[in-house]
């Protein structure tokens, strides 16, 4: 297969970037999208041009490292999937493919297609955990959890932290990411003690980081590789409303 590529090149965080055109030929349809970029890079190296910087690690859709906007969609046209799970057979021969980074102010560009997502780490640090001192845990089966709740918690916990939700959101909001962690822990008895503290801390940190606001377009859940449901955002809104009311009441 043959493709025309338009790829965002940017030297560093401070420099100005722009789209650059490339062409690539003789790509097998079983090549993954990232492997196609590997091939392009090998060609660039051979011709003395610096390869396109892009992030990836596990290449099986679980580590959440890859962060490409392909043809205007976070992680490309095949949902639900991370960019690393995208195969060239999903494109038309001869197609022009646009590749850009995730564009969110809170994810500054490091180089080309590589971004800095430490904002997401800071949101978790603001309360996305259960304070359980190592070694102090009670016997695992001492707290039964209804299967239904455990399953719901797992659905929320499946988030891979890639940030596609914010990248796809017209407002660059990270509500889906944040709500997934809040919901995961709110569904479980272990998460109850810090429930209010957690939602207040994480939501406020999200605002501090400069993410946008949710206007319920549900673009986030449409591109989410882990199929996190936007209903968790509703849950977070509920949790937040209750927690902030309680806080105001001095409880």
């Amino acid at each position: 297969m043959k493709f025309k590529l338009k790829i965002w090149r940017q030297d560093s965080a401070k420099s100005k970037g722009g789209m650059k055109r490339y062409e690539i030929d003789q790509v097998s349809e079983n090549t993954s999208f990232l492997e196609m970029l590997d091939i392009l890079n090998e060609q660039l190296v051979n011709s003395g041009e610096e390869p396109v910087a892009f992030d990836s690690d596990c290449r099986e859709g679980i580590c959440g490292t890859c962060s490409l906007t392909i043809n205007g969609e976070a992680h490309g046209p095949s949902h639900p999937a991370a960019a690393c799970q995208l195969y060239m057979r999903q494109f038309k021969d001869g197609e022009t493919i646009t590749v850009e980074p995730f564009r969110v102010r809170s994810f500054p560009i490091v180089k080309d297609l590589v971004i800095d997502r430490s904002a997401l780490d800071r949101i978790v640090q603001a309360g996305g955990f259960v304070s359980a001192r190592t070694g102090s845990a009670p016997e695992a089966n001492s707290t039964p959890i209804p299967k239904h709740n455990a399953d719901l918690a797992m659905e929320a916990a499946a988030c891979i932290g890639c940030g596609a939700c914010a990248a796809a959101c017209p407002n660059a909001s990270a509500m889906l990411f944040t709500s997934a962690k809040i919901s995961h822990l709110a569904f479980l008895p272990q998460g109850q003690a810090e429930r209010s503290r957690r939602v207040l801390g994480m939501v406020r940190q999200m605002d501090v980081e400069g993410f946008g606001n949710c206007t319920n377009t549900y673009e986030c859940e449409a591109v989410c590789p882990a199929e996190i449901s936007a209903s968790f955002i509703a849950k977070m809104n509920r949790e937040y409303a209750v927690a902030s009311l309680r806080e105001r009441m001095g409880e």
């Binding site: 789209m19 809170s106 449409a222 977070m236 809104n237």
Partner: protein, 216 residues
């Protein structure tokens, strides 16, 4: 959240307003009587008006503030941006909202302050001595230009509400995985029912189904 709460109030107003207006189909006596009832509320009417005004201002103020924040959250825009699930309505809430605002101003000038048409100020009272709202509406809507603008604005309002009316459930956290699709569907049906209801009046006038009635 403020946007959602103020939005809900406006939705309630829109429903009430429609129910009032539809009385035009029952004849001048009904609607003029209804208008008179409203006026009889006296100071309470002004309280309601003031409340609605504050509500509208708050709804707009906070929305614009959020919109500015949202714009700041993505300083460099995508060279190519496709959407997967977001509806046209959901992506253009500010635009549809602002056009509806312009419409509301015109609407108030036309029917409340009656500054757009000199005839409205000098309308004779109806046989029961009420201000003749019926005639005013018929006169107002018999201009295709005015009616056209109304229908366009109502279309945008419906678009705005097709997203907004279900969206507030989400923002207020009154939603879950099962409810979301139903609410979204319900919201769309609700919005387009409103559209049909409201636009039925200018359409009826234009088509001559509702006509001026000479006072006997």
């Amino acid at each position: 959240m403020i946007v959602a709460v103020t939005g809900v109030i406006l939705i309630l107003f829109v429903i009430g307003h429609l129910l009032g207006n539809l009385q035009i189909f029952l004849g001048p006596a009904w609607i003029n009587g209804y208008a008179e009832h409203l006026r009889d509320l006296g100071p309470l009417l002004w309280v309601i008006r003031a409340f609605l005004l504050v509500d509208v201002v708050a709804h707009i103020y906070y929305t614009v503030r959020l919109a500015i924040e949202n714009r700041r959250a993505r300083p460099t825009s995508y060279r190519r941006k496709d959407t997967v699930k977001a509806t046209f309505a959901s992506r253009h809430m500010v635009m549809s909202g602002l056009i509806v605002l312009a419409f509301i101003i015109f609407h108030l000038l036309q029917f409340s302050f009656r500054t757009t048409d000199p005839r409205f100020a000098i309308l004779p009272a109806d046989p029961l001595g009420h201000y003749d709202v019926y005639t005013m509406m018929v006169l107002g809507f018999s201009s295709p230009l005015v009616s056209g603008f109304y229908i366009l604005a109502l279309f945008l309002l419906a678009l705005h509400l097709s997203h907004g009316s279900s969206s507030f459930f989400q923002s207020l956290g009154l939603n879950n995985k099962n409810l979301t699709p139903r609410l979204a569907q319900g919201g769309r049906i609700f919005a387009w029912l409103l559209f049909v209801g409201y636009s039925s009046i200018p359409v009826a006038v234009l088509l001559g189904w509702v006509t001026l009635r000479t006072h006997s």
